[in-house]
Symmetry: C2
Subunit: 119 residues, 2 copies
DNA sequence: ATCATAAGTTAGAATTATTCTAATTTCAAA
DNA sequence: TTTGAAATTAGAATAATTCTAACTTATGAT
């Protein structure tokens, strides 16, 4: 692990708001890092490949990054806000259908968040 | 429903390979439609909003579109191939946590497909 | 220690999916 | 028919991400 990849991993793990590559880049600079955006992308790609962080794809917005602590996500269909939710683990159910080729799963729940509901 | 939106809905519903906007555009032209890519995008956005089709976000590739028949998806972590899978419906479990604000959920399973496994 | 090599980083250009803008067309209803 | 809203169009604009090629840093063998 290089200085940069360690820093980027730390930022992802200590952020509780699913930052994008750009937000991670900004946070790195706030810590006086001289890192460049391309390097942030490079390292995020490596970290995802190594299974040290998760990438969350949300249509219409840039990819977000998250820690690997097992949990699921909610996305507000009105404002796009992304939050955590914990739904019972269904790994075994999936494995019983897919077998050993299983790697992981992503569960994203669409809903209407409280603020948007009030309008 | 206009001619174009009906045609695009038909293409999505009759395609069994999760086409992208661009692929839908190509298929429309194969049917001698004079539709333009921007119109395909416009209509896809409307159809998704109306709940008539589903949009699938996969990081690193363009969005894919699919019918609304209830099912889940697998993504090969090596080659990115997208396929259908049917995992037991967990709507009730999610609703018991989220309540009425629930809209829908997307379950994407990462795995290694047979071809990539052989290598 | 020194050199060789690989890995990591950088700047900036390139790519590409998608949206935006503004003009034009379609088409239903008054 | 006139009107007005909605749909469509062409093409420019935007923005996330990757690519390229040069450069730097770290590593490991001699």
């Amino acid at each position: 692990m290089t200085k940069n990849s360690k820093m980027i991993l730390d930022i992802v793990n200590s952020s509780h708001d699913h930052p994008t590559a750009d937000q991670i880049f900004i946070r790195a600079k706030e810590q006086n890092s001289k890192v460049v955006l391309a390097t942030v992308y490079n390292n995020l790609n490596s970290l995802v490949k190594e299974g040290k962080i998760r990438r969350i794809a949300v249509s219409g917005k840039p990819d977000c990054y998250d820690n690997t602590f097992r949990h699921d996500h909610t996305v507000c269909v009105k404002c796009g806000a992304l939050s955590d939710i914990m739904i019972d683990d269904i790994t075994e159910e999936i494995k019983s259908k897919l077998g050993d080729s299983f790697v992981s799963y992503d569960l994203n729940v669409s809903y209407i968040c409280d603020e948007c509901r009030e309008k």
